[in-house]
Amino acid sequence: MTENEMTSNESTEPTPSTETAASSPDPSGDPLIDQSIDVEGTDANAGETGKPVIESRDLNVFYGETQALQGIDLAIPEKQVTAMIGPSGCGKSTFLRCINRMNDLIDAARVEGDLYFEGKNVYDADVDPVALRRRIGMVFQHPNPFPKSIYDNVAYGLRIQDQTEDIDDKVETALKRAALWDEVKDQLDKSALDLSGGQQQRLCIARAIAVDPDVILMDEPASALDPIATSKIEDLIEELAEEFTVVIVTHNMQQAARISDKTAVFLTGGELVEFDDTDKIFENPDSQRVEDYITGKFG
């Protein structure tokens, strides 16, 4: 069994390395999208590949001296759910923050390498992170509603982005999609801080989807939720994936297996060990370490 794994691992392992190899001789940046489609193609499961909308190339992140991400190459397909799993501290949140440049806010953080969103390197000097974040919404690991009313929380993004037409309707729709409307519809003026932790997390989801971003990054959105709310959120995520690209970090393997189309496995030290179709990762991973992690032998 182990030997079998090792061999199969070796046979397909070059996936990341081919990508780096391909990128280093041709750093022009333009033909990236075609290249990565090729890379996807070599992954054998060509049936359901979406066009990659986010692509990282040899992405390294440092917090001061310590390196949190090591040479990450990853292509996240459009309008699909991509899950990131891995043990605590392996850099999943860090990677998520690279995508919408939230690492800019951390003084100690330094990002090297490229990250393309719709073919544009978001670390280029002419990219305004504010404009980027309006396209890429985020739900944080810990619920962080504003100390305002429930209504104002959901309306916040709409107001700052000047999308003030039909604001009531948009708020209602967002709350309904986040499975919170029934609980709060009579108390929209109540402070969001008076909600329970799980309700707060759903409020944050509503807040993020209210502005209709292209991509939604979710950092363990269901960690504070009960099974019913979790399944509602999972339904929501699947529904969202029809319109949006969803990237979700989770510690829940079953969740990743249930809802995601692609799965990236990070392991300690900040390396991306394997990135492939979810079925493949969970049924027949190339790497022994990934199998160990998924089956709970490690991590």
Partner: protein, 566 residues
Amino acid sequence: MATREPETGWHGEDSDVNHLRGRAFEATCLAATAFGLVSVLLLLLFVANDAFRPFSADAGWLATYAATVLVPLAALAVYYYRLDEPAGEVAYVTSGLPVVGLLLTGGFAVLFIELLSVLEWFALLISLVVAGGLIAAHGRLRPKAALERLAVVLLAPIVTVFGLPPTSFNRFVTDTAAALGLDFGLYYRVISLREAIMMLPFVPTDWVMLLLTLVLPVAGAAGWFVEQRRESRRDGLAVVGLTTAVAVVGVVAGPLLGIGTDVWLLVVTFAVLPLGVYVEGVLRRGEGVRGLAFPVAAVLGVVVGSVVTGALGFAGPDPWLDWGFLTSATSRTAADAGIYPAMVGSVMMIIVIVLTTFPVGVGAAIYLEEYAPSQGLMGKFVTLIEINIGNLAGVPSVVYGLLGLALFIRVLQWPQGSVIVAGLAVGLLILPIVIISAQEAIRSVPDSFRQASYGMGATRWQTIRQVVLPEALPGILTGTILALGRAIGETAPLLMIGAAASVRLAPNSFFDVASMMPRQIFSWSSELDPSFRHGVLAAGVITLLAVLLVMNATAIVIRNRYQRTG
């Protein structure tokens, strides 16, 4: 089984947990606290006794008022505390509101007597409203033009209040200063709306202008508040209508009773209206209605007391601190001496400080916390600045006086001892304190709020404006008010910049020479007549402390208010 006592246990006296040192430490701390509190209390009692001289009254007088006022109120207080806490809160608010309202009334009355005519106030307010209207209209018409909007926001108030300069900027500054000094000498320039209103041949009478600019806006705000609270438009309109009716009736009936119309309008706005809305709310909710007995008992007690003492011929005390002291200027004879001009001087000084120190201090704090780089060479420089702001907070106040003397009087040639110089010198003194407390308030806003905001695609300005400042504002206000408390008691800088030892007339403009409360108290302390040094001085100190107490209470109320809802 659970109640059985084993001979040697882990729980009893012979356990190996040692509490002795902890108990000794606790007792020492308690002793230190008690010592501090008791000595301050004794000092206050001593000064208050000098100021009020309660024992100069007949024993009968004291006994009468004790029976009619003290005993009933104390009984009520005990009753509320023990049995009816909501009523206690009602009693507290209904007694406090009129006091605060009357203080505000007094403040505005002084404003109209000393600083502005009602017409000037009217013109200023109308100009500001028009400026606000211009800004709003621009926002409506061209919501996207950000740079233009900035220009409109900055220029509209300046144009409506000060007008346009002829050619050079220099001229404009002169005008601004002149306008601040309320000296409306007109230069060759575009006249402002405010000045145009002032030159109108026909102006409404004072009370109409006050009704329009003070009573109606406040009543409107109260009405809006009631409407929001009860979701009943009718109640809101009723508030506005009733207030206006009471105000107008008073204007007509007031002169018959000897109440000035202006004073009546101020009382209606600041005391009657808030109290009325509150009492009506209490009656409607029916909770704590018994609390209303407290203010009623207080008023009744005073009335009955004065009738009884009058009938029996008991003489009251002869306090140093009385109405005459608060409303008259200092004098050669101790009995006639008062603190009014110094009080006006202090208030005007506080106005200067608030207008200058608050924006500068809060602006600096926002910059240092939200914008300043924290890394690299610039980061080091910023840290250096922050450390030095901390040091400046500890610089002795005489030094600030010297700075004021050199900068404002020697260099800028402003009049020695004027309100503006005093305000700026003392403002510089508390600037570091304002910056530091505002920084602390801003820092205490959790980072997760900022992240949430940035994550939504907010700009830094939007994040500060919508998330950070609203959260930090109570803390900023509390810190600033406490710093203002320090400012109002500062004496050394006033001595250095040559504030008047005693003035007969309250200042009428910010460039007038004035005295301030601590300066006046200081000069009383060196009078030869001992009744100055004991009586008048004590009265001045108590007045100053009362002002301080009101300011600090305001700070505490603000803090508690926002903590509850935040």
